[in-house]
Amino acid sequence: MARGKDEIVVNHNHDGIDRRGFLKCMAWAGTGTLCVMKGGVLNSYALSALTTEDAAKANGALSFAQISDSHMGFNKPANTDVVATLKAAVDKLNALPTPPEFLLHTGDISHLSRPEEFDTVDQILKSAVAKDVFFVPGEHDVIGDDGKQYLERYAKNSQGAGWYSFDKKGVHFVGLVNVMNLKAGGLGSLGADQLAWIERDLQPLSSSVPIIVFAHIPLWSVYPEWGWGTEDSAQVLTMLKRFGSATVLNGHIHQTMQKVEGTVTFHTAASTAFPQPQPGKADSPGPMKVPAEQLRALLGITDVNFVRGQQSLAIVDSSLG
């Protein structure tokens, strides 16, 4: 297979993160990139160049997928049919070589917190092969009722405003809520109660346990001018530092982005509804209006494979078209 000029050659230096390679990986994000963390080294592959052998390497003991920002109820350019694109995302998940065992939805399930919007998403997700879906709320899911409806529907057994943790095959998952009690002029916020809970939750774990934290608004400062960050996330990152492998999965910014800080990898997923501009590349973070034929290339899903024993996590972003 002929390699494109921007294609990344597998296996960077084994002495840490290859900055050049990492930036290339970021540039590929959204068009289909596979990034594999292995022993702290980030390896990146272009999806189009993936061979069966590569796919088999990524095919690990634990496989799950992330979807985000379905914004059910949104009906304006560039996407007047968010039902169709969410269905396309589910079809994409169902067609993955290793079907995900469960799904994470990182918020903005609905556009206006309306019951019928949540109902529609629930109905569409029933067609996913993966039956379990773990949610965290976006700010669009808690409008007007301080998240009461969201809690009743999606987080009955959670703590506080909807945070919780669970374990799957030795990987510890922590679902956080950073869209409640937002202050005028502020960013996303976790709050003292939740921070105290996270500390208690992580405290008994050995530092060799892989951790996956998921929340709606990015837990790193992507672009505070647009509210793309969480004001008290630094405390969580401090708690994550002792772990050999920690991954933070977010939504909110409707585009894929990745960053590595020590042993913590940050990743944002694409939306299934509409794209948003790159940070600072527009007057406001409003929906990006793109030609119809380009829309699905800017929407997508994220597939994550954890390979037990090799301590490697493969995060694959796939666009819907």
């Binding site: 304006k76 350019p77 556009h111 206006l112 917190s113 700010e139 669009h140 409008i143 007007g144 937002l182 202050k183 005028a184 002029g185 502020g186 960013l187 001018e225 647009w226 509210g227 007057d283 406001s284 973070p285 409003g286 929906p287």
Partner: protein, 120 residues
């Protein structure tokens, strides 16, 4: 003769209006309260309240209209004085300010959006 009579009719109201204006300006006092004053409009567009500061007399109703293609809210900083529902495109929310003061408000969905109403 006809011309002169018309002139007189006009002169009286203009003179009264001018006198009121001068009095208010000299004593630096707010204009008399007008409970039936027209609503003041604030537009929401491109993730911005416009105008970002409005100054109104006590008793004035402020009406916010969302012209953006994304929903916004209008929530007082204390989150209790006033609080709109989600305003979809072209939805409006009104609140009548009955007490003087400075009211900072924000969008609870996009809290970076802030603005204020000054009530005199």
């Amino acid at each position: 003769m006809r011309l002169k009579m018309y002139w007189c009719r006009f002169a009286l109201p203009v003179g009264v209006g001018l006198a009121l204006f001068v009095t208010a300006g000299r004593e630096a006092q707010p204009l008399p309260q007008q409970p039936s004053s027209a609503p003041v409009d604030v537009k929401i567009d491109n993730f911005t309240y416009s105008p970002v500061t409005v100054t109104v007399a006590t008793g004035t109703t402020v009406k916010w209209t969302n012209r953006d293609d994304i929903p916004h809210t209008v929530v007082s900083e204390d989150k209790s004085t006033f609080k709109s529902k989600a305003l979809d495109t072209d939805d409006s929310f009104s609140y009548t300010f009955t007490k003087p003061g400075t009211y900072t408000y924000f969008c609870s969905i996009h809290p970076k959006m802030t603005a204020k109403v000054v009530v005199q």
